[in-house]
């Protein structure tokens, strides 16, 4: 803590403009959060204020497995370099253990801080079925009901389809991911998919509110109600009910298999899409693949009280771990989304600009995009661009 305040004071002394900005941030502490740049919506007013002390936010960091630890350490490097007033509380989750102590600690830490940045925690499905997916446990315990992913074609990335701009909103807590399974007799297994009216209304409401806020014109519900008449039928009905309250936004629906077919031939027709859990998994991965791969798209999980940021496709990347070839774009952009959530918009834009310039103008690409760059080279480039903007930075 002392070291951080020292850095703060050094930053203040060294650059008057920057120091003033930091001073303003400190003033916001304790005041009602009604900034004119308030970009949040829903019942944000009821959410407990984020963990903030002395002008600095505390955010839980879960490194996860595979490429998670190395990429998140790069995020910390960039934050430290840019003097971002965020401190990370690191919580390790050991996926090899069968007890749930680790993940419970992580959940408590997120409850404490309100915001988290995480890598994917591996789920070894060779373990007993009672050992549930840690990521899923985190999402359901914190009731992070909306998974939001924005897929945009980037000019610097070569893809088969251009001009894609789709926002995918996926129900994150129920559906096929309810983890309710049983073996009735040996050799016959039932897995329950639960759809509730409340959660369907909630996610539909979120989707329409977000669409309105972002100035979008069309919301498409993805379902399979011709086969799963009751379950997806209920979901669709809830979407229709909510749509009635938003006459300015067009609402239509599409069956999931047709949706995937349309996505690979004409993805430009989609605007905002809302869907239950499993179809969300499929559609978000298809869209991520269309815009350039898992290394590019950030994702966010929002609940009423908490928010957790990660890459959109939640890959562990075991095969490329430790080789310095992973693409840091998705994680860096996710950290920018987190900064937006914490209302540190200037820092968010600064880092985002650095990342996108590296991607589109400098065209320094990692192997997944067909380039030769290493992770560290990309991060260095980002930091150089941040430095060139004239903001004060600490030594690399």
């Amino acid at each position: 803590m002392a070291a951080h305040s020292a850095v703060l004071s050094v930053c203040k002394i060294a650059h008057p403009v920057w120091g003033r900005r930091l001073g303003n941030t400190a003033k916001v502490f304790g005041a009602t959060l009604t900034s004119h740049r308030n970009k949040s919506f829903l019942s944000r007013e009821n959410i407990p204020p984020p963990a903030k002390y002395g002008g600095r936010h505390t955010v839980t960091l879960i490194p996860g497995d595979g490429i998670g630890p190395e990429l998140l350490s790069h995020v910390r490097e960039v934050f430290r370099f840019s003097c971002v007033p965020v401190d990370f509380e690191v919580v390790h989750v050991n996926s090899a253990l069968e007890t749930e102590d680790d993940i419970n600690n992580a959940i408590t830490a997120i409850r404490r801080n309100g915001v988290a940045l995480k890598g994917n925690i591996e789920t070894k499905h060779t373990m007993a079925p009672s050992v549930k997916s840690r990521n899923n446990l985190l999402r359901t315990s914190l009731d992070l009901y909306a998974n939001v992913m924005h897929c945009q074609s980037l000019p610097g990335v070569q893809t088969r389809h251009k001009n894609i701009d789709i926002i995918i909103i996926r129900e994150n807590t129920e559906g096929e991911y309810s983890s309710l399974e049983h073996e009735n007799v040996p050799g016959v297994v039932e897995s329950l998919k639960i759809i509730t009216r409340n959660n369907s209304l909630r996610i539909a409401e979120y989707a329409f509110k977000l669409a309105r806020e972002k100035g979008r014109h069309r919301v498409t519900a993805v379902h399979k109600a011709n086969i799963m008449k009751l379950a997806d039928g209920l979901f669709l009905q809830c979407c229709r009910e909510v749509a009635a309250g938003y006459p300015d936004i067009t609402f239509d629906s599409m069956i999931v298999d047709n949706t995937t077919m349309q996505l690979v031939s004409k993805p430009q027709q989609f605007d905002v899409m809302v869907m239950p859990n499993l179809y969300g998994n499929v559609v978000s991965n298809v869209c991520a693949g269309l815009v350039g791969g898992p290394g590019l798209v950030p994702g966010a999980n929002y609940g009423r009280d908490y928010a957790v940021f990660e890459t959109a496709t939640r890959n562990t990347g075991k095969s490329i771990a430790g080789k310095n070839i992973a693409n840091p774009t998705a994680v860096l952009l996710a950290s920018c989304m987190m900064l937006d959530h914490l209302k540190l918009y200037d820092y968010a834009n600064l880092i985002r600009n650095g990342v996108l310039t590296t991607m589109n103008e400098t065209r320094l690409h990692t192997a997944d995009l067909g380039g030769q760059g290493t992770t560290s080279e990309v991060v260095q480039s980002v930091m150089k661009i941040i430095q060139s903007k004239g903001q004060h930075t600490s030594d690399i």
Partner: protein, 353 residues
Amino acid sequence: MAGKAWRSAVRTQKMYRNLSVTLIPGDGIGPEISMAVMKIFDAAKAPIRWEERNVTAIKGPGNRWLIPPEVKESMDKNKIGLKGPLKTPVAEGHPSLNLLLRKTFDLYANVRPCVSIDGYPTPYTDVDLVTIRENTEGEYSGIEHVIVDGVVQSIKLITEHASQRIAEYAFQYAKQNRRSSVTAVHKANIMRMSDGLFLRKCRQAAEKHRDVKFTEMYLDTVCLNMVQDPTQFDVLVMPNLYGDILSDLCAGLVGGLGVTPSGNIGANGVAIFESVHGTAPDIAGRDAANPTALLLSAVMMLRHVGLQHHAERIQTACFRTVRDKKVLTRDLGGNSTCSEFTEAICQRVQDLD
């Protein structure tokens, strides 16, 4: 098992030099495209004798809906069928006829080879994969109930028997068609017991067929990689819902349902090949339909019964006609009628001799 049954069926048929196949033209554009296929097979001198039957559901004893007995008889005798698109019944009281056929003949595997067509460009080139989908259980068991008002439960059923059957079939198919690898698609990280059971059965089948490479991949990883590089996949085997989504995704990669063949394999050596597009009532009777999907399904049927030579000739004729772009139906980007397109393929087949 299924392999032995159809092999002996083929042997018996070959003795009579003409394989008898049940043809169900279907509704809408069904009759037109069936005519087209018959014409092309005639021109190619394929040793097939068509037995046309119509499928209209009838109510049997115990208030159950059945397919007409003459259809069942024909299929039981011939074992091989070719089907055009069937109308989806809306408020007609009987369930979908596709569902009835599936239940009657226990059509447990849906096979869709997706191959890029030379003259019909899509953003994806060099696609050559096969999706094998379990067709009887899984998420489509139709078991749903409202627990309390506002809470609905839908049951996904996975059984050892069905998983074993489909896994066995996938490896057999890979062997017979000289494919190098089989990938099991699952979500066992989330649905541990159900997809875990499916995966275990796939692994057991892999042990018995060590000459075919076996890999497992999560559904989301498959989707992600499929749209970036579909050439890395060969044969994919999966439960019902994932199969539905992935097979349509792959159809989209090669150009859509109008050019995708499909086969349904059942117990006791029964196999029904079909086109998966709709009945297109708006263009029915106007000689505007594209028979490619049904034709390619018929080609798939020829391969299934061992008539590789004829299959190759007809497929080559079809692909070359499309590649030439001189005579194409409306949906393929041309101005010709169905009969003109059919005639062009017939000519091409005869020229290939």
